[in-house]
């Protein structure tokens, strides 16, 4: 664990820039920098508490800082709400999941949070829950023995069952089949837990279900929201569900979107405005993010600026570039990260993009880049560009799109041919 202050050596900095984990706990306190345009609107809406059962959708670019923002929301709203944050990546099989699995995991997450935070659920409730699960899922092989203590039984149904559901395909099938016909019962049980928690703590439950945006098979994600949208909206608590950005922007998802109370798309931090001029607020935030992890003497000012610029405002890209730049500076035996280190780190990434992008991709990127309004047109090609992060979404009022700064030189190299193509098409 690197120290929770700006690193004093490039080796520590290398470890402090970790693109793997969202910020939480002490690391959040030490490293979190508020975004110029963040989740304030969502926070406000959630605090306003129009309804105790509102359901939101949450999306954003891969690496834009969604998980960190959701963890922050969970923390900030915890005074008013009993917030439960979890990511389905840790509890479900991401290759094969449906809305029933998500609901099952939601029930488990509530139970686990109550147990952890010593909100003792009444014995009668536990008996009822255990009774329902053991009747409904009596087919599950090797269920807990009848003679076990009540709490042990409850732990089995809420905690151990999920692990088996994740790893045993046969068990998963059994559970789904049984739950299919008793879904309203399952939702009712979730509601009983949520109500009990709210009653004991005086705070309504807010569940934040992260990780659904990482379902790779868009077919699975689509089915989950199409077939399961109504069920996901049903639990009597507030909830935020994440959605893959690529699915979110399809026309068909529009129908699903309107059935939820609201949605929020976390924009990338702007490094440039719509007009291509530098965005000072955005850049200041990105610079601060670097300085929180790295003592000022360890990085040249122009290197920080280049990092901010080349990240395109995607926070995880910034962290990954900074980490790689530290590595370049170290082998150069430099005292600090220089702009050349940043350029070289970006160059490595650019090489991957160069291999990844096709002529069609370049044409589409050029079209959007050359369009003064930087408009988005929905097409499979564009979805691929969003997916591989070569096309980034920004917002000031309206959403607009631009090419990842690391990719831009590749586009420039092809400017002549692409320019012609563009004219020929016009």
């Amino acid at each position: 664990m690197p120290p929770l202050k700006p690193a004093e050596s490039l080796a520590d900095a290398f470890n402090a820039f970790d693109p793997r984990t969202p910020l939480s706990g002490p690391a959040f306190k030490a490293f979190y920098v508020p975004r110029p345009v963040g989740t304030e609107k969502l926070l406000g809406d959630l605090q306003a508490g129009r309804s105790q059962v509102s359901k939101w959708l949450f999306t954003g670019h891969r690496g834009s800082g969604k998980s960190t923002e959701l963890i922050r929301l969970a923390n900030e709203l915890d005074a008013q709400n009993f917030t439960v944050y979890y990511t389905v990546e840790e509890v479900l099989d991401m290759a094969d999941l449906d809305y029933k699995d998500v609901l099952l995991s939601l029930g488990s997450a509530l139970y686990e949070a109550a147990k952890k935070r010593k909100v003792n659920l009444k014995k009668r409730l536990l008996q009822d829950l255990v009774g329902w699960y053991s009747t409904t899922l009596k087919e599950v092989e090797g269920a807990v023995s009848a003679g076990a203590e009540l709490e042990e039984k409850a732990d089995f149904w809420f905690l151990k069952l999920l692990a088996r559901q994740r790893s045993e395909v046969a068990t998963r099938k059994t559970i789904r089949t049984e739950l299919e016909s008793r879904l309203s019962d399952l939702i009712e049980k979730i509601n009983r837990i949520a109500e009990a928690i709210a009653e004991k703590t005086g705070r309504p439950v807010l569940a934040i279900v992260d990780g659904l945006d990482k379902v790779m098979d868009l077919g699975i994600a689509r089915r989950m929201y199409y077939e399961g949208g109504a069920s996901l909206r049903a639990p009597a608590c507030k909830a935020i569900y994440t959605v893959p950005l690529a699915l979110f922007h399809t026309t068909e998802f529009g129908q699903v979107r309107v059935t939820f109370d609201d949605y929020f798309s976390l924009p990338n931090v702007k490094v440039n405005g719509h007009d291509g001029q530098p965005d000072e607020d955005g850049r200041a935030m990105l610079r601060e993010l670097v300085h929180r992890r790295l003592a000022p003497g360890l990085i040249a000012p122009d290197a920080v600026e280049r990092l901010a610029e080349l990240s395109g405002g995607v926070l995880r890209e910034l962290v990954a570039l900074a980490k790689d730049a530290c590595s370049f500076a170290r082998v150069r035996k430099g005292d600090r990260v220089e702009a050349e280190d940043v350029e070289r780190a970006a160059g490595r990434l650019r090489n991957v993009f160069a291999g990844m992008l096709t002529d069609d991709h370049y044409r589409e990127l050029w079209r959007i880049h050359a369009d003064p309004l930087h408009r988005y047109t929905n097409s499979p090609t564009v979805q691929e560009l969003v997916h591989n992060l070569s096309l980034l979404e920004y917002a000031d009022g309206d959403a607009w799109w631009d090419v990842h700064p690391v990719v831009r030189p590749l586009l420039e190299e092809r400017r002549d041919t692409l320019g012609n193509l563009n004219l020929a098409r016009a």
């Binding site: 470890n15 891969r62 990954a320 490595r348 991957v352």
Partner: protein, 469 residues
């Protein structure tokens, strides 16, 4: 200057990434996901091997080869229970090299990449550094199928050849380059550590019931190179001979030629010119038959060295020029600099000082640009010798001092002995016998230690000097 085995020089960026990945694995705390790009298997193997050697004793690299039967990274890592190992306070850190994606069918590979996306949290919880070695096409596929795993990357390391068309040649050359372990890259202590490691490996390999002769021969060859660099000529020779026998038996012409060339080098260093020449010529014929131009160029250079020592200057010059032409065509800058230095030696021997200086200066510039300290020191010594021969002692001494410092830093006993001897001779000519004597003594001591052909001659000279005092 002779050449162990020929090589095009490593692209500067490849050298940087080699250093970066080694450094990252050394300093990384907890988990870490790196992607290493390669375009030939020899490159990949050479790079993995080099990093393992550089980290020997600090980080234990475990190789995980993914196969059609077991293509899933997480399952393979979990079997090893790395978190249990790394959590033992005294245990050495471990890291994984995962490779073999190319040998898996497209469909299975797609699934294996999909699994990375799905199991990334689980892989993350193992808290160990993992480097995935793959070709570009696969990396791009991975980025598409497992984007959330791809963005976890802590570093991208590019070990591809700068020129795709020359990829294969480059890969082979790189392997050779790393096998040479140029003294400018590796300090003697590290060489000794590697010898120990290889010896252990050799013993283990030999004890295996189905011992693989090719692998064992390879270790003998590597040990030969390591001992050679430490001037342990006789031990090196014994290892090379072992390798040679096996390669002959297996009919492995390419490796045989390489070994013959390296045996030739030892005889050349010992001053046994005819034996050296016989070996070089055998290697030369084989390289020619195989169409291995890079190997050929190195051997031509080495034959040139023998000719020069025998005073056959025109023959030497012809060989050097042929070698230089080929190396130039291959884009092997350090090889070209080596031949320029050697051509300079001829003019120096012939007393054509200006021509000698011109060649040395060209060589010097290249060595400086490449950061090749050993080559640079050798050339500085030679420039010093031109000034020495011209009687410009102050200039000569200035160059010798620079060369001496570098040889000392590199622990290059051969180069150091030569430069100390040269400085000693100037002091002697200046009448500073008390200054000269310790330098000459040390030079002789070094020469004796590794059996330099001139050792006894130099010792006799030193004795006569003592008498004169």
């Amino acid at each position: 200057m002779t050449r162990l085995a020929t090589s095009t020089s490593l692209a500067p960026e490849v050298t940087v990434d080699l250093a970066r990945l080694t450094d990252a694995l050394r300093i990384a705390e907890g988990g870490f996901v790196g992607f290493a790009l390669f375009d030939t298997f020899p490159t990949r193997d050479a790079m993995m091997h080099e990093i393992e050697m550089r980290l020997a004793g600090e980080v234990e690299i475990r190789r995980v080869e993914l196969t059609p039967d077991e293509p899933y990274l997480y399952e393979r890592l979990e079997l090893d229970q790395p978190s249990a190992i790394n959590h033992q306070p005294s245990a050495r850190h471990i890291a994984y090299f995962a490779y073999g994606f190319e040998g898996i069918s497209d469909e299975a590979r797609a699934q294996a990449f999909g699994a990375l996306q799905i199991q990334r949290e689980a892989i993350g919880r193992l808290e160990v550094p993992v480097v995935l070695w793959m070709v570009e096409g696969n990396l791009i596929d991975l980025a598409r199928r497992a984007p959330d795993f791809f963005v976890w990357r802590a570093g991208l390391y590019d070990f591809r050849s700068p020129d795709r068309k020359r990829a294969e040649e480059f890969g082979r050359a790189m392997r050779q380059m790393l096998d040479i372990y140029s003294p400018s890259l590796v300090p003697p202590d590290e060489l000794r550590k590697r010898i120990k490691l290889y010896e252990e490996l050799l013993a283990r390999r030999q004890a295996e019931p189905d011992a693989q002769p090719r692998g064992i021969a390879g270790l003998h060859h590597d040990l030969g190179l390591l001992h050679y660099q430490l001037h342990g000529w006789d031990t090196a020779l014994a290892h090379f001979q072992q390798a040679r026998e096996t390669y002959e038996r297996l009919g492995d012409a390419a490796r045989l030629a390489m070994t013959l060339n390296n045996i030739g080098n030892i005889f050349s260093d010992k001053g046994e010119w005819d034996t050296a020449l016989a070996h070089f010529q055998q290697a030369h014929e084989t390289y020619e038959r195989l169409g291995d131009v890079a190997g050929l160029a190195g051997t031509l250079n080495n034959i040139g060295e023998v000719s020069r020592h025998k005073g056959e200057w025109d023959a030497a010059l012809a060989h050097y020029r042929q070698a230089r032409e080929t190396l130039d065509r291959l884009g092997d800058a350090s090889g070209v600099a080596m031949t320029l230095n050697n051509i300079g030696n001829i003019f120096n021997n012939k007393g054509e000082w200006d021509a000698a200086l011109a060649y040395y200066q060209q060589a010097r510039e290249t060595f400086e640009r490449l950061g090749d300290a050993a080559g640079l020191a050798m050339t500085l010594n030679n420039i010093g010798s031109v000034f020495n021969n011209k009687g410009e002692w102050d200039a000569a001494l200035a160059y010798y001092q620079q060369a001496r410092e570098t040889f000392e830093r590199l622990g290059d006993a051969g180069g150091l002995a030569r430069t100390l001897w040269n400085i000693g001779l100037i002091y002697e000519a200046q009448g500073r016998l008390t200054d000269a004597q310790p330098l000459l003594e040390r030079a002789v001591e070094l020469e004796r230690r590794f059996g330099h052909p001139d050792a006894e001659k130099d010792a006799a000279y030193l004795a006569s000097l003592r008498q004169r005092q």
